[in-house]
């Protein structure tokens, strides 16, 4: 079956095979670099996610691709669609913010400095009011899926509110259906291996 391919490889020599392997590795490496670079820019551990459930229908369906950002120190608003992952939760969840609450926590010294420095540009941000500069305001969130009847407290694994550190990012952009490939690959693992195998083989055998 692979006689033809093996003959090709023998004819082209080991040097060519190594070169193809190197090409293959550089493709994978650049993919990883783009992913991690995006994560750095958007400040989110996973800047692109695929919708896995129907709880946000009719806004998002299974397989839709979402682009997230998570700028530091920018408060969330009601109506924002967040992706969050609570400790103990299996998969990240995409749901809309229903309530935002400010709570006053005693700030650490570094936060105090940051607050004093940031006091000048408080005016344009303005969504979280800081009356005392030595206290830090933290945001608590409550979310709900558009297609669900009740809010998400039961999904928080015992937590009463969602905190900022649980949020992976806020949905900024939307591309329909493209992510369905990954869902198909998850549902049928053989498809994934077949696809990877074929791609690898083609990359090795292909002549430029």
């Amino acid at each position: 079956m692979f006689a033809e391919e093996l003959k090709t490889i023998r004819r082209l020599g080991i040097r060519h095979v190594l070169l193809q392997l190197l090409n293959f590795a550089s493709v994978i490496a650049s993919g990883l670099m783009i992913w991690k670079g995006l994560g750095l820019i958007t400040n989110s551990e996973s800047p692109i996610v695929v919708v896995l459930s129907g709880s946000m229908e009719p806004a998002f369906y299974r397989g839709d691709l979402l682009f997230l950002t998570n700028p530091a120190n920018v408060p969330y608003h009601t109506g924002d669609i967040t992706v969050y992952k609570v400790p103990g939760g299996q998969i990240p969840i995409v749901h809309r913010v229903l309530e935002t609450r400010g709570v006053v926590r005693r700030a650490s010294s570094s936060a105090k400095k940051a607050a004093a420095k940031g006091l000048a540009d408080e005016g344009k941000e303005g969504a979280v009011l800081r009356t005392q500069p030595e206290a830090e305001v933290e945001q608590l969130l409550l979310t709900k899926g558009d297609n669900n009847h009740i809010d998400d407290i039961d999904l928080y694994e015992g937590l009463e509110w969602l905190e900022r550190r649980h949020v992976v990012g806020k949905v900024r952009g939307f591309l329909p259906y493209i992510g369905y490939v990954t869902i198909a690959m998850n549902d049928f693992p053989k498809l994934k291996y077949a696809l990877l195998g074929i791609l690898g083989l083609v990359a090795l055998v292909q002549r430029e």
């Binding site: 806004a59 109506g79 309530e99 935002t100 709570v103 949905v171 952009g173 939307f174």
Partner: protein, 179 residues
């Protein structure tokens, strides 16, 4: 050179770049539509009642019930890249500790242009409570009608379509039984 493999490869590459360019153009085109329709929002009555928490038995807390009237024509927001409109009414107040609280009390998904003329006289759909379990020391709240425009492809945008002109105070809690 002209093998079937090369042809398929070329064709699919060309097709996918065409589709991506088209989607990009559509996404960019929605920045040209800058409609900002304004509606009327009025709060008819605000009532506070004590009650028992469903999730934490034994905890009694105060619940606020808001009757409101919304009339807004949001049809200008529907253009060729509008998939749906998520419309929500929120209460905004700064509590006694000086921190901001935003609570969504009503929402509606508008999927068609024909449904985008909103005339609602209603009461809050979601539970309205305070984190301190009481509205006793809570300053008057503003109410605003917000929307989230969700496109077929591209960037999600947000806007405000109405706001109460003056903050509405919370009345003292009353018993369910009228005397």
């Amino acid at each position: 050179m002209h093998s079937i493999y090369a042809r398929i490869n070329n064709f699919s590459a060309f097709l996918s770049s065409c589709i991506l360019t088209l989607l990009g153009a559509i996404a960019l085109s929605s920045f040209l539509f800058t409609a900002n329709p304004q509606g009327d929002l009025s709060v008819l009555s605000v009532k506070v009642y004590p009650g028992n928490s469903r999730r934490q038995p034994g905890l009694s807390q105060e619940y606020t019930f808001v009757n409101f009237n919304i009339s807004a024509d949001l049809t200008p927001l529907f253009h060729w890249n509008t998939k749906q409109l998520f419309l929500y009414l929120q209460a905004e107040y700064t509590d006694a500790k000086g921190v901001r609280n935003d609570v969504v009390i009503w929402d509606r998904i508008v999927r068609r242009k024909e449904e985008a003329v909103i005339n609602v006289v209603g009461r809050n759909k979601y539970v309205f409570r305070d984190i301190s379990h009481s509205f006793k020391n809570v300053p008057p709240a503003n109410y605003s009608l917000q929307y989230n425009l969700m496109p077929h492809v591209g960037v999600l945008t947000y806007g405000e379509a109405g706001r109460t002109t003056e903050p509405v105070p919370f009345p003292p809690a009353q018993d369910f039984v009228s005397r």
